[in-house]
Amino acid sequence: MQYALAQVLLVPLVFTPVVYLAGRKAGKQTGWLVALPLLYTLLLLLSVAYRIREGISIVEVYSWAPLAGLTFGLKADGLSIWMAITINLLCLLVAVYSIRYMEHRFHEEGHEPSPTVYASYYALYLLYAIGMLGTVLATNLIQFYLFYELMLVPSWALINNYGYGERERIGMMYFLWTHVGAVILLAGILSSYWITGSFEISDLSGVVAAPMAPWIAFAILIGFFVKMAVFGLHIWLPYAHAEAPTPISALLSPAMIGIGAYAAARLVVIPMNEVFSRFSLAFSLWALVTMVYGGLMALAQDDVKRFLAYSSVSQMGYIFLGLSCANAYGVTGAMFHYVSHGLGKCILFCVAGMLITQAETRSIKKLGGLADRMPLTATLCLLGFFAIAGVPPTVGFMSKWIIFSGVFTAALEHSIEMLVIAVASIIMTVITVGYALWTVRRIFFGPLPEHLEEVEEAPPIMTVPLLILAVISVILGVYPRLVTDYLFPLIGGLIP
């Protein structure tokens, strides 16, 4: 099929004004209208995935700005295809989930919602999805940068308009942090152009020989580190992810921040491997700190969404750790963990949303014993935690062991310090299991408090999308080759 990748971006784009206009009549049912193009693009991506299963890649190049030598290219290869599929899948299911959730959200605001609020919510939602998909498929840096910013603007608007708490201030904070990161990234991109004379991502490896290479790599990485919220650059994340409307949190945390890791792999770790691996030790230490710090902070939270947000910081630490070893196992594991974390964390944020709609609270202290009232939600929550904590048969087990396999390989090849970090980081995985089970216990187990006796299970429109995610996470856990057969050959061919 020709133009398959172009359609992946164009079809939702065409739908955006349609959604906006139709949404003014359709009200909350607009969600289905958003699901339609996303379902179509998901099927397209799956067909592309089927076509590239033998290790080839599909590139579509369109002329863009011939004067500047810019092309508009879209590339599906072993690395980008699973990112795109994950993003698309999450966007599709969360769109359906939003239907019920946003209705609750608007009622929560205390006034009868006008259809317009649904219309603009879903139009922005679709733009946000295009931004994410465009970022992972982009082939040149300018295009990449534009999509990278495109995913920021709608998500900022969504937080700003539909969020909780001090949403304006937090939206601004989110925007500024990410944008400053993106500007530094742009500086890196422009200086790489200065050396290689090309904006193509595939030409980036030409930078390596230049004396400035570490600085360029670092500038590019900083932008992505802000996005991934690694320790020290993480302060915006818990605010943004906690106060965003929950379906958007369920995209920000699982789908978006991990794109930082993908981009780091695509733009730095793979093409500038020699440069990057010089900093392996420092980065893996940084990753370890992020893992532990995020986990500790998660333990300290009472707000279930803030808790999940810090857990994302910690999980980004794992992905960062995988990248930091700069070898095929580590990077594959990191990218694979993006998928695991995406599936698991999306389930978890949606579960948090169900607690908000059904039990009307986000405070863990006020929850308890809900397994009786919401058995399905409890099961989903447990499965979501299993996926991020790496408990088989969920996919998290597979991705985590591949990460650690890479970490130990790097450690045994390099230095004793790295081995210490490797052992320490693997021990720290217990923290994930600890905060996960402790939280499950506080929300779902124990005696049912009086004020929760009337709570009911969430409607199928919310639970079914999550069930689908849980089933996929188990399928990939049992048959990981669906993912690894794309990642390993590609990454293994590019870096040691």
């Binding site: 172009a6 164009l10 784009l13 065409v14 955006t16 004004p17 906006y20 369109y62 002329s63 092309t71 508009f72 317009t116 603009s120 733009l127 500024l176 993480h234 302060i235 710090y293 500790l296 902070m297 333990l299 300290a300 095929a328 594959t332 014993g369 397994a371 009786d372 299993f386 408990v391 088989p392 048969p393 087990f397 597979m398 062991w401 591949i402 650690f404 396999s405 130990f408 390989t409 045994l412 490797a422 693997i426 021990i427 217990v430 923290i431 299991v433 089970l437 402790w438 216990r441 187990f445 124990g446 005696p447 049912l448 990981p480 080759r481 057969d485 390993f488 050959p489 293994g492 061919g493």
Partner: protein, 722 residues
């Protein structure tokens, strides 16, 4: 061979774990149809596991080990692959049969014990998943697959220990007050986290091994051991480190010191679950894994002469012996019936670990040690399953977990008493029950190893044997003999009569005890006719298996003198007397009240407190790890995240605003504003009047314009490009 062909030729080793998994997944479906159907299907699926494992017995008799690889699971960039496969050899066949058989009996018992529980769907789901995971673990031919079963077992234990998640007061464990009590959901979590700590150590070791060996497959690890073990030995300390990390997994899973503290709390689940965890699955996993990899380290030590490989054996032998002692001492003072049994499990697993550990301390004692560990695993599985099922019946009948609420039960529950007595005698190591022979085998392998270390470990083990008999007598006597407790009298008074349990609950116990007695008797007969002895049978099979896997390497077997054998038996008997006499004095004859004796001496009082508080290990762990972590996160959140990180963030934005205002006040207002803002607006105003018609000012239309413009632009560029 094609996967399907392989599956048809050797169905047993695959179906035995696939079927319980399928059963687990179908459980909710059956429950929708009919609740009775769901229960019977659970029985059917666990029985199918028994059939599948028994179908492997012919392979056992034909000897050798078969590594059946069925599919590539993950293909690595190096071209290698992780393959799904099963390793069928005497070790896995024996253990798998024990697992399947005992699990099946426990399933039958559960039908009676759990009858009427509203959450049986969840129960059967986890139960079958548990059996499936354990069998997967036992039959795996590679370390990653083992890990999957390993984690599956852990997950199910979490689900089943915390089965009564509502945490109603009567399900709490521990006490009696003022000793703290714990709710089931806490206990389930504790089990998962504590064993999880061991698991990550194991994981680390696996990756180190993989880095050097380039494979996860057991047979390949053994066959290529020369290369990778020597490469590893070239880095000083690495092999020892790997051995210790590796043992972390089995130590956690099998509840050995220092990760033994989860098992006593694992009693919070329904009693059949305790039986399952202690006898058939979970804690046996660690023993099995140690036995599975010990040939690698044996080759390292005795064929390649790498001294560091010895670490593996020394550490596990020490841990085993010390844990046997530690747990037996705690069982002496415990007041909960199931907790006594739990400590006894920890202690008995210690014996198995000791047997496996001393196997590598001498060149000729390998098979002897391995056999003693596995034989004890088998015999312990039988009597411990019986003990737990009987204990479940007792607790069911008297509605209390404490032994001081029991007493005199013999007259009401004669069958349960008989089975529990026989199983207790086996646990204590009274001849001719199986426990005597298997414990004797462990002692014998210590003696055969003959090194000073082995003898020291033996001494610890022997003292524990005396304590074992003592606490066994105490347990059986407090439960079944003497006068009924106040609690029972009160129950009778209220019309709740204590009575024998239903056949569906005592028949499984009867079967277990019968098999246990048969094995014991056969072992006794085996002294004269070796071909009948189960111990000799296991030994021959294991010997055969190891020679087969070592390929061309000769496996020396030390000849054990009759004198050594007699020494072992003598030691056993002496220890029985040492523990039995005071046991008889205090509990059977009841000459003196042991409480008075303890009260009368400050030393004994101190000792009692020390043992009662579990050597202060459990409180220490809570203080350091749980409280420590909780305090740390509080402090870091308050002082660092809020105190520093947030402040920095605020300061940066504050500074920017301040700078902005400053610049605004000077440059902006004074220079640019005055210069431009007078002229430019004039022009703008003109433009404004012309475009104002489409500027409706409605935000929504504005957004629409932006999107349309974008669309037009992009289509324009793309059409131009085509």
């Amino acid at each position: 061979m094609e996967p399907l062909e392989l599956l048809l030729k050797y169905p047993g080793p695959f179906l035995c774990w696939i079927l319980p998994f399928i059963g687990a997944l179908l459980t909710p479906l059956f429950a929708k149809i009919n609740e009775k159907l769901r229960d019977y299907m659970a029985v059917a699926f666990s029985f199918s596991a028994v059939i599948s494992t028994t179908s492997m017995i012919p392979l056992l008799l034909s000897g050798g080990s078969h590594d059946l690889k069925i599919a590539k699971w993950i293909v690595f960039p190096s071209g290698g692959a992780l393959e799904v496969g099963v390793l069928v050899d005497p070790l896995s066949i024996i253990v798998a049969n024990v697992v399947a058989f005992i699990s099946f009996l426990i399933v039958i018992y559960s039908l009676g014990y759990m009858e009427g529980d509203p959450c049986l769907t969840r129960y059967w789901f986890f139960f079958q998943f548990f059996i499936g995971s354990m069998l997967l673990l036992v039959l795996s031919d590679n370390l990653i697959q083992v890990l999957i079963g390993w984690e599956g077992v852990g997950t199910c234990s979490y689900g089943l220990i915390g089965f009564y998640y509502r945490d109603s007061k009567e399900r709490w464990l521990g006490g009696p007050p003022p000793t703290p009590m714990f709710p089931p959901s806490h206990c389930g979590m504790k089990a998962f986290v504590v064993t999880g700590i061991g698991d990550v150590f194991l994981l680390a070791a696996i990756f180190i091994i993989y880095h050097y060996a380039g494979t996860f497959n057991f047979l390949e690890l053994i066959h290529h051991s020369e290369g990778w073990l020597q490469a590893m030995a070239a880095v000083p300390g690495l092999l020892s480190l790997t051995a210790i990390l590796f043992l972390g997994g089995p130590i956690g899973k099998s509840a050995q010191f220092p990760l033994h503290e989860w098992l006593p709390e694992a009693m919070a689940g329904p009693t059949p679950v305790s039986a399952l965890i202690h006898a058939a699955t979970m804690v046996k996993a660690g023993v099995y894994l140690v036995a599975r990899v010990s040939p690698i380290f044996y080759i390292g030590r005795w064929s390649l002469h790498i001294t560091e490989a010895q670490t593996f054996f020394i550490v596990i032998a020490f841990i085993g012996a010390f844990t046997a002692f530690l747990a037996a001492s705690q069982a002496i003072v415990s007041l909960e019936l199931k907790k006594i049994l739990a400590y006894s499990t920890v202690s008995q697993i210690g014996y198995m670990m000791l047997g496996l550990g001393v196997s590598g301390l001498s060149e000729g004692g390998f098979v002897l040690g391995l056999t003693s560990g596995i034989f004890h695993l088998v015999s312990h599985a039988l009597f411990k399953a019986a003990l737990f099922l009987c204990a479940g019946s007792v607790i069911h009948a008297v509605e209390s977990i404490y032994v001081f609420d029991m007493g005199g039960l013999k007259r009401w529950m004669p069958l349960t008493h008989a089975f529990m007595l026989l199983a207790t005698l086996s646990l204590s190591g009274i001849p001719p029950f199986s426990g005597f022979w298997s414990k004797d085998a462990v002692f014998l392998s210590c003696l055969a190893a003959g090194t000073p270390l082995a003898i020291a470990f033996l001494a610890l083990g022997a003292v524990s044997a005396a304590m074992t008999f003592f606490y066994s007598l105490r347990m059986i006597s407090l439960t079944f003999y003497g006068h009924p407790s106040h609690h029972i009298e009160e129950m009778e008074h209220h019309g709740h009569h204590v009575h024998e349990v239903k056949p569906i609950m005592w028949v499984p116990c009867a079967i277990l005890v019968a098999v246990m007695v048969v094995i014991g008797v056969l072992a006794a007969v085996g002294l004269f006719i070796p071909s009948l002895s189960p111990e000799v049978f296991i030994e021959e099979q294991l010997h055969h298996m190891i020679e087969h896997t070592f390929e061309h390497m000769h496996l020396p077997v030390a000849h054990v003198e009759v004198g050594t054998k007699l020494t072992a038996v003598g030691l056993s008997v002496a220890m029985l007397l040492l523990g039995g006499l005071p046991g008889w004095f205090f509990y059977l004859a009841r000459r003196v009240d042991p409480r008075e004796v303890v009260e009368s001496s400050p030393l004994l009082r101190g000792l009692h407190t020390f043992l009662w508080n579990r050597w202060y290990i459990n409180p220490l762990y809570y203080k350091v790890f749980v409280d420590g972590l909780l305090n740390l996160k509080e402090a870091v959140f308050k002082y660092f995240e809020k105190g520093v990180m947030d402040k920095i963030s605020d300061a940066v934005s504050g500074l920017t605003v301040w700078l902005g205002r400053g610049i605004f006040g000077t440059l902006e207002v004074e220079v640019i504003d005055k210069g431009l803002n007078v002229g430019v607006p004039r022009v703008a105003e003109g433009v404004y009047h012309r475009v104002k018609r489409i500027q409706t000012g409605v935000l929504s239309y504005n957004i629409l314009y932006i999107i349309l413009a974008l669309l037009v632009l992009i289509s324009f560029f793309m059409l131009g490009g085509m």
